[in-house]
Symmetry: C2
Subunit: 278 residues, 2 copies
């Protein structure tokens, strides 16, 4: 199987490294940055490397696009004439419905696109943040669409297992986006809003403990990527903020009215749900 | 120096253990739970133990109250006739202005109360959660009031250093409460509201990564203690929520209006502030 990985950042590079370790025989790395390709070849992260995709795509049985959300459909449109008959494409973007809609519109009939979301972020950007064991024990979500062939979904799932993922879950794109809005995007929205509060000051850390450090960790955010992720999941994200705001309002009301019993009930409910999860 | 610690939970117990290790010669443990006293004596965490405070208080040069916020002033009122001339009291509660007001009203003239806040929470409750190195490298806040004698403030600060604290900062009670509302209470309010969201379900963890796990950790909360902490800091807490909501509203507006530039600016501002702190 010939695998082409387009975009050798922390995620694409980690797929290359872990699948190389697993014994994949032909991994073609494609990246617009020549230094990245040189580095990947030198470190034996890939078998072949190139800065223009045409030649690599022609040979590929599977094409993994580790690009920004806004780049997926334009890439498919620009390079579809180089896709082999029966090629399987896959992506790694954190939002699905909008990407699927845009990409399906430009996807040729002889290609099958399995949309997926590896659930392991990276604090380090670029190929230097890649590692062969990055995905060990990680979860991934696969969001099949009606046009997908079962054998192609299985092919991508096998590749994820080979890369180290432990749990693969198939969900609809809608459920994916709704839940990601809650468990991931809302967390980032809260974190950046906390850090941007007018109460933030140079003295803040004199008062801060673990909870502040943990909650604000993800405010150290990639603004270009996350702007795209937020805007491509607008409806679900706004709904998620609204649901959250309703709870914060309940909390505030209890504090404002000195309703200790309501406050305790609210906290007890949270504690029980948290313990139910972890 | 005779030190009486009232309440041998995780915090009181850790003070006893770390000061015992430091060589303090007389640590009297007072707790209403007989098993706790038996355990503390057996484990040599204290020199003497009792379930009624009268005798221990009579001998004490320093009395540390590791009680819930609502118990501080009533304790002082009930037992003040047992306080020695020149005794120094101190507390460990996470809110200050309201506690200081209530307590000062009932404090006898021959006692000095140095209000303090050790900045290290405990996940484990009770004496079993205590350890001799719990406070190593931790921060503490001291909130002096005009009636305090400098020598008594220094006495408490020395005791904190002996217990392992590395940074002691003196702040006004008002600034303390305002900043704690932001860096600690707001974090807890957000965390419990996230967990109580109507979007929470048994499926949630299929989608959740590190950020959800971290942000919801503190939702496993002691409802009795935190209800008191929130209600005793009502004004500052509500102000802190309002400041946060203003930022979340800015974020929402940018998403709603597809204003990618405003969104990027907001994220960039957060990233820079976060990196400035850590």
């Amino acid at each position: 199987m010939n695998l082409a990985i387009v975009g050798l950042g922390a995620i694409g590079g980690s797929f290359a490294m872990s699948l190389m370790k697993k014994g994949y025989e032909r991994i073609i790395g494609i990246d617009i940055d020549e230094q990245t390709i040189d580095y990947a070849l030198k470190e034996q992260i890939i078998h072949e490397g190139m800065t223009s995709p045409e030649e690599g795509l022609k040979d590929a049985d599977v094409i993994m696009l580790t690009l920004y959300p806004s780049q997926i459909a334009p890439f498919v449109e620009q390079y579809r004439s180089y896709f082999r008959q029966g090629v399987v494409l896959t992506d790694v973007t954190g939002v699905k419905t909008s990407i699927i809609k845009e990409t399906t519109r430009v996807l040729p009939d002889h290609a099958d696109f399995i949309f997926a979301h590896p659930m392991r972020g990276s604090e380090k950007k670029g190929i230097a943040g890649a590692s062969a064991d990055k995905f060990e024990g990680a979860n991934a979500l696969i969001t099949p669409v009606p046009l997908n062939k079962e054998e192609n979904i299985l092919k991508i799932e096998t590749m994820y297992k080979d890369a180290g993922f432990s749990t693969l879950t198939r969900v609809t794109p809608e459920k994916h986006d709704e839940q990601i809005a809650y468990v991931s995007q809302l967390m980032h929205a809260l974190s950046v809003s906390v850090v941007n509060s007018s109460q933030a000051s140079d003295d803040t850390l004199l008062f801060a403990g673990n909870s502040f450090q943990e909650l604000t960790r993800i405010a150290d955010i990639n603004d270009s990527l996350w702007s795209e992720l937020f805007l491509n999941n607008k409806e679900a994200l706004l709904q998620s903020i609204t649901s959250f705001e309703a709870e914060l309002e309940t909390f505030k009301q209890a504090v404002e009215t000195d309703d200790e019993e309501a406050l305790k009930d609210f906290l007890t409910r949270a504690r029980e749900q948290r313990r139910n999860w972890y």
